[in-house]
Symmetry: C2
Subunit: 197 residues, 2 copies
């Protein structure tokens, strides 16, 4: 996980990592609402004032962590795009699932267990964009086999985005009972690629 970038004072990185680790630890033990700056600083073995040097408050900290998530995922997507990938959709899914699996401890608490809204919201924006892009590039959608009825595009996008993210959340909450590759295949089957006209 990125936790921010290059040429930063190592003390800053160390402190942010301590805060992040402490936060994930606490989330496994108590509810988000019970996590105070006090407790967080204590667990992270930093001074409470130091927390305020980095974040305005706990909601602000969550936003920053969501920024990191956004950044990580965009990096993955951009890497795939610049390969001019022949099997685009398929690969994106596998790479995304592998990313979630790699950082499962983090995603499990913020997405699956505690369902912190900001993370789901960010993911939803990402997924909606992804699906709309795909539809643009590959023509009109006909998601349910060949039933050539017209379903408003926004509904199809809402439906698929929620389905994908929800499935990933369930998968994480159950400690990933399927491999990323297998789950990606099932998701592809459930939401077939739009067919070219």
């Amino acid at each position: 996980m990125s936790t921010s970038s290059s040429r930063t004072d190592p003390r800053v990185l160390r402190t942010r990592q301590l805060i992040r680790d402490a936060f994930i630890e606490l989330l496994q033990e108590i509810e988000l609402e019970k996590i105070t700056v006090n407790r967080l600083a204590e667990r992270a073995t930093i001074n409470r004032v130091t927390f305020y040097l980095h974040y305005r408050d706990i909601p602000d900290m969550l936003e920053r962590m969501a920024d990191d998530m956004d950044h990580d995922i965009h990096t993955i997507l951009n890497d795939l795009k610049k390969d001019a990938n022949p099997d685009f959709d398929w690969n994106i899914l596998v790479k995304l699932l592998e990313h979630f699996a790699e950082h499962a401890k983090f995603y499990k608490v913020v997405l699956a267990s505690k369902r912190i809204a900001v993370f789901t919201e960010r993911l939803m924006v990402l997924m909606v964009d992804l699906i709309n892009d795909r539809i643009e590039h590959r023509g009109a959608s006909s998601p349910s086999g060949d039933t050539s009825v017209h379903i408003p595009q926004d509904i199809v996008t809402w439906y698929s985005s929620s389905a994908f993210i929800g499935t990933i959340v369930f998968w994480l909450s159950q400690d990933m009972p399927y491999t990323p590759l297998f789950l990606a295949k099932q998701l592809s089957l459930l939401a077939p690629s739009p067919k070219k006209p």
Copy 2:
């Protein structure tokens, strides 16, 4: 919305309604984390101590409100079941969407705008049960047209439940641009009924 049952002191009902209304009002103005018992009592024009007569704390209040939601929806489902409905799936969807529309002001903040985890979780449990029941009663699913591949049942359930709830949430967040009847039809098209073997 039920806000609890029969033979209760009208003062209790009045107070709970005041708290509920104040809560929805505040949610439209500020973030959930900023809603304190202080502010809530002030807005509800009740004494702060009175709040503690009804709820342990704010998370507890949310749980109780989620209980009410559960109760309301179960009532709707039970009413439909005892009619021995010939067009089961279809009608359930319409009735559910009508319920959300009727209490849109409430659902919009707790589900769509603030995404308070406990409400989504409860809804998800309801929806998973609903879908699993349907599958039991009507045989093996083949959700994506006729692709006769075997997708693990739990994945199909995860996928469909998330898709339904997510679509409803989007629909609410956009102030219901489609009628319940229309949206129910689109949802039925997207997730075709399982076919009898």
